[in-house]
Symmetry: C2
């Protein structure tokens, strides 16, 4: 690997570190190099704050370094339009940077290439680093779907037995996976904007749905880190970083409940603070509050979005819309079979991260209870498949579309 590759890899690592904190902007990383040294680096800030390039330029200044004549490595084409912040191309031009390296054009076909055009017009040399295209693309799958399709990117995470069960018939699911893959789930939650569950999971598990990386000791962390070099199948920069990276800086995701069970307790973990939404319809809301006195007296304090829908599938469309309006670019679907099935039926699941445990249950609940298919050929074939054995749990990761999917 030549030194420029290392700089770009570093930019991608910074980009990864920002995933989950930038929505609805893409997580980008930038590294400024002068005379063979990194003089500044930075990632995209929270929405409305500086983009990666500006963060890196400010970092260089804070270190007392002059960016005139420097080179910048950035994991995505610099933006050239006025949004909540001025265009990054302007900042790059103004600070005297003479060379820009990037692996990836803006995924939005309407603006793609315009940042580079602007830089070149200003006499700046632009290098497209094709070798990093794949890694950089994987870091913005979520943004790409959001910008091209106007919908959040949905990751369905499940722990299943070898015979494909997420819980016993009575609903017991503790524990299928091992402590390494449970840590992985917490790291994953730190990289999403929202976690979605349904009524059954709420009532069965009373889940916290927060990021609890601190609950895992260093031994567990280091075992997980060690697996990042052992990915089989497609290389996957996002997955490798997720396994490897130490994650200290994160928000708890928004908790999203699709449905409203009538036996919901007002002191359940889901309602413990304001960081949640309940997505339901009028009928479900009425029957829940009619049946449950506590819920009724509390109902005007709940964060509820009521939609007009009469089927599970319609509820998914409505939920996707609500999530988008709430700035959710990536959501982790941690539902049971019914909710997962509804998302699957409408083609809403983009990424499947399934942990297969070495257990055989012989009965129980399937991860996806979708509509019945006549033919095996009706199944969804996953793309860009990677697997990695984590202790005795196998992580199987695949996508609805290839990493270089385009507008459809």
């Amino acid at each position: 690997m030549i030194v420029n590759d290392l700089y770009m890899k570093r930019a991608c690592e910074i980009a990864f570190s920002r995933i989950g904190r930038t929505s609805p902007n893409p997580a980008v990383g930038a590294v400024i190099v002068k005379d063979g040294s990194i003089i500044g680096e930075g990632g995209t800030g929270a929405c409305g704050c500086d983009h990666a390039e500006v963060t890196a330029i400010k970092d260089a200044r804070a270190r007392g370094c002059d960016t005139a004549g420097a080179e910048i490595f950035v994991s995505l084409e610099p933006c050239s339009h006025y949004g909540k912040t001025p265009p990054c191309t302007e900042a790059i031009i103004n600070c005297g940077i003479r060379k820009v390296y990037t692996p990836l054009l803006d995924p939005n076909p309407i603006v793609s290439g315009s940042g580079i055009k602007k830089l070149v017009s200003a006499g700046i040399e632009v290098n497209i680093m094709h070798d990093h295209f794949r890694a950089a693309s994987e870091l913005i799958r979520n943004f790409k779907k959001y910008i091209l399709r106007g919908q959040p990117f949905i990751i369905n995470k499940c722990a299943i037995t070898l015979d494909g069960k997420i819980a016993s018939s009575s609903g017991d699911s503790k524990w299928i996976s091992n402590e390494y893959t449970r840590l992985l789930v917490h790291k994953l939650r730190s990289k999403v904007d929202a976690v979605i569950i349904g009524s059954n999971t709420l009532m069965m598990d009373n889940p916290m749905l927060n990021v609890r990386i601190g609950d895992f000791n260093d031994d567990i962390k280091s075992v997980l880190t060690a697996t990042s070099g052992m990915i089989n199948g497609k290389d996957n920069f996002f997955l490798a970083e997720l396994l490897k990276a130490e994650i200290n800086d994160y928000n708890d995701p928004l908790r999203v409940l699709v449905g409203m069970p009538s036996d919901m307790l007002i002191n359940c973990n889901f309602l413990r603070d304001d960081n949640y939404i309940i997505i339901t319809n009028e009928k479900e809301f009425e029957s829940a509050t009619a049946a449950n006195k506590n819920l009724r007296s509390f109902s005007d304090k709940l964060n509820i979005v009521k939609g007009q829908f009469s089927s599970h599938e319609e509820s998914v469309h409505f939920a996707m819309d609500v999530l988008k309006k709430n700035g959710v670019m990536t959501a982790l679907l941690e539902g049971g079979g019914t909710l997962n099935g509804s998302f699957f039926n409408v083609g809403a699941i983009d990424q499947f991260m399934y942990v297969v445990a070495p257990k055989v249950l012989g009965s129980g609940i399937s991860p996806i209870r979708g509509r019945e298919s006549e033919h095996m050929s009706d199944s969804l074939t996953l793309r860009d498949v990677s697997t990695v054995l984590i202790g005795d749990n196998l992580l199987f990761n695949g996508y609805k579309e290839e990493y270089n999917f385009e507008m459809m």
Copy 2:
């Protein structure tokens, strides 16, 4: 690896090559070395024929080599009793071999060690090669269960979607797996004595259940071979050889049908020659022959074993007994969910070889439809788990018991 390790590895490879042709004897390999060269080698013959040691001694003689003063590497302790053939210890002593290397004592605790004792008494040096214990043990898991428990060793093979389905709701299962893993199944069939199916699979797939390695071209074979070095988890000599070995010498396994569907066709592939058994009970037989005129007129020509059982679980116990009486040491269970569930319920499945394909179906038939469990902790935890990615299919291999299981 020192040279002795290579000789023992060769003996284990020979043993593997004989698996599926020796039942109910264990498949053993032997290599005779003199003055730094292999002068003879051989594996266990079919039942009643020479054991590995005698085959190797005869091979040396056929090559015109004198075994006096030679060393023999054998994958299992030489036998010391008169069975269908004279004891191998006697042959070794008589032919002047001065040193015996083996990694593994006879698994039968009643005779374990007596072969070595006899050799030592005759002044022969015996070396236990502990480093090969694991590999050698994996080659005789089947024999070990047969001799310790009096039952055939059952391998359950399935191809499943990522969401744990072996077929669509209507029963369509073509194709879940890729051509590499389908070749693997044919190689596996060459290593078992019998293949077991149930009525649903018979009627849905009209399967041949034979070994069709010849249907796969060299490209497919070489891709499969290449994966043998890429096993994750526990090293597994059996699995690595199964992936790697070229298999030219095999029998088609006995076809076993548990159940008797009334709409069975007398010209189905299952009944195409005499190499089959139907295991059923009187009631099922009566109703099938009452409903099906062709079957009735043909019924006295069928290979049927009728048992006294009234539940699926009892049918498994009866079938295991019939298999044992037919000299079946290893059987491949290729059932659907119902039959697999019956075998699972009674704890009869020893090895799970599941191919997980990168497909999501969203509904369909589970690989094991066993009895309902209250708790996840009721699940069977698999031992000695290995995984290997074969193209885009993941082979997940695990066992009910560890490789060094003992009498229970």
